[in-house]
């Protein structure tokens, strides 16, 4: 009986084995590292963003596969405007970023390509890339945030980082242009326990927003705007605050996602 069992098991193990059992996987692990940053072409400063699908999207398309390729899964910049992917296969890539700046890849209404400032390059080893873009807005702190009764008050200044003329020159050929696209629609004040504060990591109890209809923000450009958080933050806690503003233009066009330009996060002690 025992013999039958054993021989049965032996037969089974022979049956289910195959030659590839003894071979090593013949494909090398992805070992290419791509590091990049997105900077303002005028100042050289990084374009700050939020780490999430409302931030700066990085899209890689591996052209080595031929014409009919789909992009790799998208990933997003870190909040300081840089990105890093250390698990790429070597190959020829089209690299593009979409965010709160003039689109790199621009097409007209009939789908004809007007310009493509994306990078097309061979990737191998470890590589660094830099995208110089024209952000829509610049958000800057004015002084330090203050705390009173558990509420944070901060002052910011919003200016255009791209002139309306420049914007029009590049966006108008894409079709359906109106001057409304340039209007600043809202200024957000994000508050969170996390240093990665932003749209995705905001605490809804405290974060606030100022909404501007039509062109009402126009006279406020370059002026100091006061932002106050909502409700009371418990005493003794440390929170991080950040402001962001956006214009009435979605990127990439057709997604309906209007992305914000951010300023640097600040740490605030509630006392």
């Amino acid at each position: 009986m025992k013999k039958i069992t054993w021989s049965g098991l032996l037969c089974l193990s022979i049956l289910i084995s195959s030659c590839s059992f003894f071979e090593q996987d013949n494909y090398a692990a992805p070992d290419v590292t791509l590091e990049g940053e997105v900077v303002d072409v005028l100042t050289g400063d990084r374009v700050l963003t939020d780490q999430g699908s409302e931030g700066i999207r990085v899209r890689l398309t591996e052209l080595s596969w031929g014409d009919n390729v789909e992009p790799n899964p998208d990933f997003y910049c870190m909040q300081d405007g840089s990105f890093r992917n250390s698990k790429l296969f070597a190959g020829n890539y089209h690299i593009t970023v979409d965010g709160p700046f003039i689109p790199l890849l621009r097409k007209d209404a009939s789908g004809k390509e007007l310009a493509d400032e994306s990078l097309v390059m061979d990737l191998s080893g470890s590589q660094k890339v830099k995208f110089e873009v024209q952000p829509f807005l610049r958000v800057e702190w004015v002084g330090e945030p203050t705390v009173q009764n558990g509420k944070v008050t901060a002052k910011v200044k919003v200016t255009r980082a791209v002139t309306p003329a420049d914007f029009k020159a590049k966006v108008e050929p894409m079709g359906n242009y109106t001057d409304d696209l340039l209007q600043v629609t809202d200024v957000q004040f994000f508050v969170s326990y996390s240093s990665t504060v932003g749209y995705r990591a905001r605490d809804e109890r405290w974060s606030s927003e100022l909404i501007y209809a039509g062109s009402t923000f126009e006279p406020l450009l370059g002026q100091t705007i006061t932002l106050v958080s909502k409700e009371e933050i418990p005493e003794g806690r440390t929170v991080f605050v950040r402001a962001a503003a956006r214009i009435n233009f979605d990127t990439p066009t057709g997604t309906g996602t209007r992305r914000w330009n951010y300023n640097q996060a600040k740490e605030v002690l509630i006392k």
């Binding site: 014409d67 009919n68 209404a109 359906n176 990439p252």
Partner: protein, 686 residues
């Protein structure tokens, strides 16, 4: 001996040869000759095609797509606001687990096969029947194209039988533009309507008015998309990367004409059903003066197969073809094996007549200006709160203390033992504080305790002594804060559920029919198309007074529902349009219609969300700039007064949030289909 054997063997082998070719049709393969030349054969052919039709009924789940099984079936939980439940299937309608793509083309092929091959058997049928079968094929194709178009925009228009195997050029069909796709839907529905018989030759078959009714629904979708795409930031249109075809949205110079054309077709089709179809609203038990009769009438109409309102019905038969809607959606004490899969929300019942309101239009529960101020209004019984509620609402939703299957539904959130008058339990009812729940309140968790709640049923119920009698904190039907298998919102669904106390419990025991198309929708299609045409300044397609038709349709439905009728005629503005939209939200709730309506109105993403409910409601009350959520209405018992009060709070049990962005108005084409084809485009905005 041996030699003899060999010779015999050789002779035997040789004699087995024959010179006749084996060129006869195998008897065990069914061919066109067997199927397409008798009505019985056509029955078999069409029955198989019909079994794979994309019907959204008891065997369809928004989150999962067409998987043709009824597992966990719930209705209205796809972020429509009609209902919520405890599971992950309660999520926005942003795509389907099984995308309707590959299977769609199989069904289209089945339809094309009839269109191309039935003419060979024309003589086998009477002309009327022959035309009807052809009409069925067009109707099937129209339905499939329509089902795909509302999901993806432009799709490959396969209108011929593609020979397989073949070259890539012969077999690959790129996506057509969205406008061409809707035009194809229109053509196919028109073909179907002109060929089909006015009355179905057999139960379950389509007919002329089925095609027209669905045509009006489809054209309403097309017209709305053409028009309301323009309201979305970025205009929601784009050209395919591989083909340069406008696979989603409409061109800047065609959308207005297209929208008017589609609304006109929707109106014409609906009017034809109204004039010649012979359908009428179901009013068997209805009485103008008796609210109880109006309620009972609307409960009965969904299971009455002889209803004059039914245009197209998916029937089930016990025990061979059944579903399990009861098993997943009955109130908690009827659990078999699950329960309360569809919990209607407070936001939904706010659409209906018969409640006291705050100045902003929301349902009143306190004496103040909103539900965070004033004192709670006390009711002698939990049912008193609903005593003036619209009969239609009562037919759709089970209220606390109402009757179901001969049993009183004891729904109670908890017991309050503090002094009266009672101030609102929470200091803050805003969206941001939705995650603070009753069990987090100090009056529940700390001494002295004045609020009693139950984590679970049975011996986990907290007991309060009331006038010497023990009383459980939560009702027998919940809600229980640690067991989301009872109601999550304080309400249960009544519509579609078998009301008989003798119904056999369990999965696969239900056989109620699902009404896929009924006359009330045709009236509402006509009304909406009429208002949209008037808004666009288009001429009336048939000489009728558009706004009068719209007003009459709404009034007819309101009268049957026991709702307050319009005081004047509907006006050609957004207010008038919203009257029709809101009526649609109410009448067609829990019928897999609302999730398409909020999609075609483009009111699901944040910027458009004010219009989410068909009427205008401030989105910031139920949404932040990303997600949205819905509220329940929870009855509490006050031992001091022996009365009930209600609290309006965001979903307390198994709290769900929903998200939606403009990208979701056109779903992703399955990645594999795009990757393997040289011509199939992904959505340009993805």
């Amino acid at each position: 001996m041996k030699r003899l054997l060999i010779i015999l063997a050789l002779a035997g082998t040789a004699s087995l040869h024959s010179c006749v070719d084996l060129d006869i049709t195998p008897k065990n393969i069914v061919t066109d000759n067997d199927l397409l030349n008798t009505p019985a054969g056509m029955d078999i052919y069409l029955a198989r095609v019909y079994s794979m039709m994309p019907f959204e009924d008891f065997k369809y789940m928004g989150e999962w797509g067409f998987e043709y099984n009824g597992w966990l079936n719930s209705i209205g939980i796809e972020g429509t606001g009609e209902a919520v439940n405890r599971d992950g299937i309660t999520t926005s309608f942003r795509g389907e687990r099984t995308p309707y793509w590959g299977r769609a083309f199989e069904t289209i092929r089945d339809a094309n096969h009839i269109i191309e091959n039935l003419p060979n058997y024309k003589d086998a049928f009477s002309e009327e029947l022959y035309n009807h079968y052809l009409g069925e094929a067009y109707y099937i194709r129209a339905t499939v194209f329509y089902t795909m178009a509302k999901r993806f925009g432009g799709v490959p228009l396969v209108t011929t039988l593609i020979q397989y195997p073949g070259t890539a050029e012969e077999m690959e069909v790129p996506r057509a533009s969205e406008e061409e796709t809707w035009d194809q839907v229109l053509t196919d529905f028109d073909q179907a309507a002109s060929l089909l018989m006015p009355k179905s030759p057999k139960k379950g078959y389509a007919n002329k008015f089925v095609a027209l009714a669905f045509k009006s629904e489809a054209m309403l979708y097309a017209g709305s998309v053409a028009k309301y795409n323009q309201t979305v930031s970025g205009r929601l249109t784009g050209l395919g990367r591989k083909t340069g075809v406008r696979v989603i949205g409409f061109a800047d110079d065609t959308w207005q004409d297209a929208s008017k054309r589609y609304f006109t077709e929707a109106y014409k089709a609906a009017r034809e059903v109204m004039k010649d179809g012979g359908y009428a609203l179901y009013k068997k038990k209805w009485s103008a003066t008796d609210k109880e009769a109006q309620y009972q009438n609307m409960v009965d109409m969904f299971s009455d197969l002889s209803s004059t309102e039914n245009i197209y019905v998916k029937e089930y038969i016990n025990p061979t073809s059944t579903h399990a809607f009861d098993a997943y959606n009955l109130p908690f004490t009827f659990r078999a094996p699950l329960s309360s899969g569809t919990c209607p929300t407070l936001d939904f019942i706010e659409l209906f007549d018969g409640f006291d309101r705050y100045p902003d239009g929301s349902i009143r529960v306190t004496t103040g200006d909103n539900n965070a101020s004033g004192n709670y209004i006390m009711y002698d019984s939990a049912a008193d709160f609903f005593k003036n509620a619209e009969p239609r609402l009562r037919a759709y939703v089970i209220f606390p203390d109402d009757q179901f299957r001969g049993k009183q539904m004891e729904i109670r959130g908890g017991i309050y033992t503090g002094e009266t008058p009672i101030k609102p339990l929470f200091s803050n009812y805003s969206y941001n504080s939705a995650d603070t729940r009753y069990q987090n309140l100090d009056i529940y968790s700390k001494a002295p305790k004045s609020l009693y709640l139950s984590p679970r049923e049975g011996n986990r119920q907290e007991i309060v002594d009331y006038n010497g009698n023990p009383m459980t904190a939560a009702g027998a039907e919940g809600p229980f804060y640690d067991n989301a298998e009872a109601t999550n919102t304080g309400l249960y669904l009544r519509k579609w559920l078998n009301p008989s106390p003798n119904a056999e419990p369990g999965e696969g025991k239900s056989s109620q029919p699902f009404v896929l198309m009924r006359y009330a929708e045709v009236l509402l299609n006509a009304a909406e198309a009429a208002v949209e045409l008037q808004l666009a300044g288009a001429a009336t397609p048939d000489g009728s007074n558009l706004l009068q038709v719209a007003s009459d349709a709404v009034n007819e439905i309101r009268e049957r529902a026991g709702a307050t009728k319009l005081t004047g005629t509907i006006t050609a503005d957004v207010t008038g349009r919203n009257i029709v939209r809101k009526e649609r939200r109410k009448e067609l709730a829990f019928e897999h219609k609302a999730k398409w309506d909020i999609r075609r109105w483009r009111v699901n993403h944040y910027e458009g969300r004010d219009g989410f409910w068909g009427e205008n409601r401030d989105k910031n009350k139920f949404s932040n700039n990303e997600n949205y959520r819905f509220r329940g209405i929870y009855p509490f018992f006050s031992t001091e007064e022996g009365k009930y009060f209600y609290d309006a709070r965001f979903q307390w049990i198994a709290s769900k949030t929903f998200g939606y962005t403009p990208v979701d108005y056109y779903w992703e084409i399955p990645g594999g289909e795009v990757a393997k084809s040289e011509v199939i485009d992904q959505q340009p905005n993805r």
